[in-house]
Symmetry: C2
Subunit: 226 residues, 2 copies
DNA sequence: CGAGAACCGTAACGTACGGTACGGACCTCT
DNA sequence: AGAGGTCCGTACCGTACGTTACGGTTCTCG
């Protein structure tokens, strides 16, 4: 998984970035059914330019995924002054951010396209990686790489305990995300308000700390079983 | 959500069922790119019969989803003799079954098709419900309706405590499923062995009981933080 | 000012696919 | 045996879409 899926040269003209934004907007408001004609019309550019810049349709999609990924990357979560409260705060902020991302129309549309294309079975040998792999590298795995240092720091500080960071991380995102992503992808209108996201993030974090905490000052039990 | 999405008349000829099984096989081994020609060839039937039996392409897909759903429906989980061990056992059995379903190639392929089609934005007014809605009704919500009585019985027996059954249920499936489904849908080759499924189910169940249990005989803590 | 490049809008081409029509084989019932 | 129905295999039609080609316009640079 050390392939260069998560890096990009960012050699993109302003114009090209505008085109990719148009693709994103089109994906969001019109679903995965995305034609080159529609993109050209929406972006007010010629199809010739589209093919000149991105090669073919798959190249355009790939560039769009990478472009969105480059916009989502948020700052790391600091692990200075790690007491129980700071850890809880970091986890909650992470959960809020992640829930906001996966429930955003852009993320949903992009995942839809990647999933639809990811089923194309027999991939020709020379062909580049599927969109699904790019989504995983920039989404799920990038997220993990960002949060795991926080968990490790929490363990070193004696606030939480676990054997495998990966397992702990997966339990956390399970508690945070639950069935949100699959339901949204299947078209469930599950509009999460910012307040719900905030409370879900806090509930999941407290549940996680109940499971993996060492018993340092934690919120009382009644708030967990919402 | 009381729409007749989860019932079907099952007025299907043996021949038609064979056709739908061919569709499923084709979806699994060839991904979502499914053409009527390929189905006819694979099922050794004429396209004319396809259209006669299922109306159009969407009808064929819908019938396929319903057909698969009708095959997956498992028996209810008995809630007789409910002590802590029996509850734990029921939850583990449920988790094993569900993990097996969502990680099966058939389920993945079907979800892929439903998700791809579910993005088709502007649905014509007269048109039937999307495949995504059918998948949700027969998958996620049917599962919930099947497990919630178990949870409620556990609560009535004083073994677990929660305010909202739905919230407790969602926490449970979050702990069980974690990121498995989205990763598989995006093409991650995450081949779960039966042994892993079994241990994941036990871990998730014990975590759930740690969060929602009332303190009755539960497995010791060390086994939870695997 | 003039040559060249970049780009927009549109037209054209080839293919793939959803949907329909037709001929022939088999099976059933009388 | 013959009529009617069901179904398979194949050919066919219309359209949509990816991709390419071309004329016209604007911008850049000498």
């Amino acid at each position: 998984m050390a392939s260069p899926l998560d890096i990009q040269d960012d050699t993109l003209t302003e114009r090209q970035q505008a085109v990719l934004d148009a693709v994103l907007a089109l994906m969001v408001e019109q679903g995965g059914e995305l034609t080159m004609n529609a993109v050209a019309r929406r972006a007010s550019c010629s199809k010739e330019s589209l093919y000149k810049w991105f090669g073919d349709r798959e190249g355009l999609l790939t560039a769009t995924v990478r472009w969105q990924a480059s916009k989502v990357r948020a700052g790391n979560y600091d692990r200075t002054r790690l007491d129980a409260l700071a850890l809880r705060d970091s986890l909650i902020r992470f959960a809020v951010n992640w829930l906001g991302v996966i429930s955003s129309p852009t993320s949903i549309a992009l995942n839809r396209v990647a999933i639809a294309q990811s089923g194309g079975g027999a991939r020709t040998p020379g062909e580049g990686a599927s969109l699904g792999a790019i989504m995983l590298a920039n989404g799920r795995f990038a997220i993990g790489a960002r949060l795991k240092p926080v968990l490790d720091a929490g363990r070193e500080a004696g606030l939480i305990v676990f054997d495998d960071t990966e397992t702990a991380f997966r339990s956390f995102i399970g508690l945070v995300g639950r069935d949100v992503q699959i339901r949204l992808l299947l078209g469930d209108t599950l509009n999460l308000t910012p307040a719900e996201i905030e409370s879900d993030a806090a509930r999941a974090t407290d549940q996680f700390l109940t499971l993996y905490g060492t018993g340092n000052p934690l919120p009382e039990r009644s708030k967990i079983n919402a």
